[in-house]
Subunit: 260 residues, 2 copies
């Protein structure tokens, strides 16, 4: 065997070894996990679109099954109305939305756009909410998803909320972009600590339904950032997702949000 | 004059004096104020409906001009989309909602359902938001009103926010009902102090636009209250409104919300 041939063989062997290592590593890290991304942005080429895209890429690479609810593309209905109940209301004299959807859930007479989303949530190990912050909260189209999909009977009951919420085997993570800078969202900044506005979203809604909450992914002020900085925000999210299944949930209680 | 006739006259005179006093008092208390009630409930006979109704009655009695935006009755659109801009977008290649509506506001090419609401806000001295708490926040239909109506150029600019917000001559007040009890919404209760969930709504949205914030009117857990207790909640709101124009706004900063 010539030196060149030997080098080739050796190099080929190394390549195979690397490939095998990659395959083994890939198999080892093939989590079999299911992820639902609830995505609320109008423009696919926005940074929210990019954050959604890299999440899909990274989680696919890990072998996760990914479902996306692209709310604007679906023209998702945010309004909580009588239309959410198929057939006669439980009380035709007095419309109480919470009572009616609870009854409809039990009788399997909820509108199909709600049950479609409930199926996706039911199958998911992790739900990622990807959205731009509107008025310290979710855009109305996403708020409507919370209002309508996470109904009593499906996501919680009384009793059966907070740590006993029906979605307690699942993880939730808010990935959001802000208009204001990180500096504005500090304890002494004009907009206060960013954890303050997370309270209703993470604790009031998601934790109430039992979700374990992973730390939020906040991309601050991408609109006033450079192209390079925006790329770094997207890369940092992709990087974090590589080890997302090893993360411990936050302790979703007032000290996390407001300090002592 | 018989005794009876004398009594009648006297009684009549007293009646006239009372009427005159009422008229004078009425004129004196005729504030000439304008109030917008943004109302988000599906059922007129709900406690939210009653709270809206007594507010209209009491404020009318004071001589206020009242406008109501009954969002469900209007089937108000909560979604922030391209439809909010009439004609060609400022950037047809990349849709940025905030930028597009800011440009449209300046060019007077915003959708008419937005400008109709902006006119009502512009004319109001006080805006009352009447709604049931959904997930520690506003129902999506009302969140959509905030997202779409309070746009850059109309409600604020950069700079021109918080104490310099464009609506700084106006008062805002949240009147809301909860599912949870007052006990749950305390510092040591499962849902935390009620002031925690008010932060994004009062500070993040309304104060950002300059509004001075009056103390919230919270009717806790009407659904598990007795009929008598519900009546007392409504009466207490009507009573408060009698002296609403004498109230001082809250100090809308973190100490009000989170203590020291």
């Amino acid at each position: 065997m010539t030196k060149a041939a030997s080098q080739k063989k050796s190099s080929s062997w190394n390549f195979d070894k690397e490939e095998l290592f990659f395959k083994r590593h890939h198999l080892f890290s093939d989590t079999g996990k299911k992820v639902l991304i609830v995505y609320a942005h109008q423009e696919p080429r926005s940074i929210n679109g990019s954050l959604k895209k890299v999440a899909m890429e990274e989680l696919s690479r890990q072998g996760c099954t990914i479902t996306v609810s692209d709310l604007y593309a679906m023209d998702f209905e945010p309004r909580a109305t009588k239309k959410d109940v198929i057939g006669a209301p439980s009380n035709p004299e007095f419309f109480n939305y919470g009572v009616e959807v609870y009854e409809a859930f039990k009788k399997r007479s909820l509108a199909s756009d709600i049950t479609d989303e409930q199926k996706k949530v039911q199958e998911a190990d992790l739900v990622i909410f990807q959205f731009p912050l509107y008025w310290f909260g979710m855009p109305a189209i996403l708020k409507g998803w919370m209002d309508r999909v996470l109904c009593q009977g499906f996501a919680f009951d009384i009793p059966g909320f907070y740590d006993s919420g029906f979605l307690k085997s699942k993880l939730a993570l808010l990935s959001l972009t802000t208009g204001g800078t990180a500096e504005m969202y500090t304890r002494t900044g004009v907009s206060g600590d960013f954890r303050y506005f997370l309270w209703p979203l993470q604790h009031g809604a998601l934790h109430f339904c039992g979700f374990k909450i992973l730390a939020p992914q906040i991309s601050f002020a991408p609109e006033i950032a450079s192209e390079e900085e925006r790329k770094a925000m997207v890369a940092s999210w992709a990087q974090r997702l590589k080890t997302i299944w090893e993360e411990e949930p936050i302790d979703c209680t007032p000290p996390w949000y407001f300090g002592q």
